[in-house]
């Protein structure tokens, strides 16, 4: 627990623009080890773009993303290719719309993530290793079990319901034994019951959880778990701090509702605090 406050991911003056649209505007924040950090904001605020920059799927226009490893110099993620970020920095991510491999079985989806994490000459090593060695399958089944998917391990992943696909994606990310787990709106598209089930599963595995970076468009149950939150609006950070304090922040409420707080409609963000 002594490492709780070690900065893990340091984002400095990050800027990303698609043509004339500025997705991220001079964003700086820090995610610490063993903590859950949330990036909150209404739709179009640039939350997914931040995750895309961190996981290397987008190249930022300017700014830096440092990832601190246990020993040695920090990795400069903005200069690394995405597969290298996953392998060397051990950052795993999920997508807003689950991107599972529909043609592979559920078990193979998880095995793939484990296999890909070998560090050097992974492709040549993979050529000589069996896809389903007993040891690997055992570890994969552990995560499927954790996410309640062991019953469907052998069926094609494409036939799963959206909720199960989301859990599979999280199992796949966790199986890679990441140091930072980025969850892009894990509650999106799930109903109340599925959300609760997902949260329960994640709380059950809390001991094995790495540091987590989570995005969300409302301060729902999932996001209220976080230790620290950054609120984005149109690519700019408008507030940061404890999630509880942010609920009463005037700028935050204004960004969400477009009106000053105190109106007739009960904002969801306030209700859930």
């Amino acid at each position: 627990m002594s490492e709780t406050n070690v900065p893990l991911l340091v984002v400095q003056h990050l800027t990303l623009a698609f043509g004339s649209v500025t997705a991220i505007d001079d964003l700086s924040f820090t995610a610490r080890d063993n903590q859950i950090t949330a990036i909150l904001g209404p739709g179009g605020a640039g939350k997914t773009s931040v995750l895309n920059c961190i996981s290397g799927l987008c190249r930022p226009g300017s700014g830096g993303i440092e990832f601190h490893t246990a020993g040695g110099a920090p990795l400069l993620l903005e200069r690394m290719e995405s597969w290298r970020i996953t392998r060397e920095a051990r950052i795993a991510r999920t997508f807003r719309n689950p991107r599972i491999f529909a043609g592979l079985t559920v078990l193979e989806n998880v095995l793939l993530a484990q296999n890909a994490m070998r560090s050097r000459a992974a492709e040549l090593a993979a050529l000589f290793t069996s896809a389903k060695s007993r040891k690997a399958a055992q570890r994969a089944r552990y995560w499927l079990d954790r996410m309640g998917l062991s019953q469907v391990a052998e069926s094609p992943a494409g036939v799963l319901s959206p909720g199960s696909q989301r859990r599979l994606e999280i199992a796949r990310a966790l199986a890679a034994d990441p140091r930072l787990l980025c969850l892009d709106e894990p509650a999106a598209g799930l109903d109340r019951w599925e959300q609760d089930a997902l949260i329960r599963r994640m709380q059950d595995s809390k001991q094995q959880m790495p540091a987590v970076l989570i995005t969300g468009h409302e301060a729902g149950t999932m996001e209220s778990l976080c230790d620290h939150a950054v609120v984005l609006d149109r690519g700019r950070a408008i507030a940061s701090g404890k999630a509880r304090d942010l609920c009463s922040d005037a700028a935050v409420l204004c960004a969400w509702l477009g009106v000053p707080p105190g109106g007739e409609s009960v904002p969801r963000i306030a209700a859930s605090c």
Binding site: A92, R99, F101, L104, N109, L127, S130, K132
Partner: protein
């Protein structure tokens, strides 16, 4: 009815058939294939020439099938790799006067290295571009070669003849089948299947699709180099006409037929050899037949001569599930 149709439409991309056969069964099948093939010259010597052509087609077909179906690389320059293998054999046995089998490792290594050099930069591009460029590359090499007038007439490559060469061909074909089977069950195959399905998601789980594809391209080209070396040793000559794009058409037919089943690949190789042996005077007709076969295969797939059992079972099961869903 509508429900059944929509269920079909929503069916996810089929998973790679999982062959239930454990390793020793496949190894035994491969060995018995080798034994049966190598027995042909003793029992039916008049068939030996025919059988060695079939085996060479199989060797080439397995390499191409790996590249196209597993790596997803449309490598239309395959006849060039075949020719390079043949050239290596000509140099090793002709210029250096070494025994014919020493050409085999040289051809395999050189061909793989050259194929990687040509294809590695191309793999940054989309598949359509890779297809067009490799096709053009193959055509240009063949045209330049035939216009240069360089050819080695018959009997100029010492090579080898008789049973030793035939055994080598059979052994390489059996080995290629075994290696291809092993690769399809490796962790690399899993990575490639994921990368071919969703490249962005595969990058997010740490797969570098380009490197994976390069490994498979090297292995496929290795098969082609070995085939070229053995072909040159048997033929004793080196002519550009043996390595033109019509060879590619035949290999495509074999690779398409052998997508899911080795048995289909063998049948296609036999058919192709029959066509090549009995229709030598009508190259246009052969191309026409190859084209017709390529076009009709998807249509005929439902009545394919042999479909892997688990694929058939799964298709049947899903159809039943769709019918049940419609009934409810």
């Amino acid at each position: 009815m509508l429900h059944a149709d929509s269920a079909q439409f929503l069916r996810p991309a089929p998973a790679q058939p999982k062959s239930a056969a454990p390793g020793y069964v496949t190894a035994a099948t491969s060995l018995s294939f080798f034994a049966a093939a190598s027995a042909i010259p003793y029992f039916a010597p008049q068939l030996a020439g025919f059988a060695s052509l079939v085996l060479l087609y199989l060797l080439l077909g397995s390499g191409l099938a790996l590249e196209i179906w597993l790596a997803g690389v449309p490598d239309f320059a395959f006849p060039v790799w075949f020719a390079i293998g043949a050239g290596c054999e000509a140099i090793v046995t002709g210029t250096f006067a070494l025994p014919f089998w020493t050409g085999l490792p040289v051809a395999m290594v050189l061909t793989a290295a050259l194929a990687v050099c040509v294809l590695a930069p191309l793999l940054r591009m989309r598949n359509e571009h890779v297809a067009v460029i490799t096709l053009a590359f193959g055509a240009v090499v063949q045209i330049l070669w035939s216009q240069s007038g360089f050819a080695l007439p018959a009997e100029t490559i010492p090579g080898a003849s008789g049973n030793l060469l035939y055994l080598c061909v059979a052994g390489m074909a059996a080995l290629a089948g075994l290696v291809a089977w092993r690769i399809r069950r490796s962790a690399l195959a899993l990575m490639l299947r994921a990368a071919n399905e969703d490249e962005i998601a595969s990058r997010a789980v740490g797969v570098d699709a380009r490197r994976c594809r390069i490994v498979i391209v090297a292995i496929g080209a290795m098969f082609a180099g070995a085939a070229g070396c053995l072909f040159a040793a048997g033929q004793g000559s080196l002519r550009p006409a043996d390595f033109d794009l019509s060879l590619m058409a035949v290999l495509l037919v074999i690779a398409v037929a052998g997508r899911r089943s080795q048995l289909n690949m063998i049948l296609a190789a036999i058919l192709a050899t029959v066509l090549w042996q009995y229709l030598p005077a009508a190259p246009a007709l052969r191309l026409l037949i190859a084209g017709a076969a390529l076009l009709s295969w998807p249509l005929l797939r439902s009545i394919a001569i042999s479909t892997p059992r688990d694929v058939a079972a799964r298709d049947a099961g899903q159809t039943e599930a769709a019918i049940e869903a419609a009934a409810e």
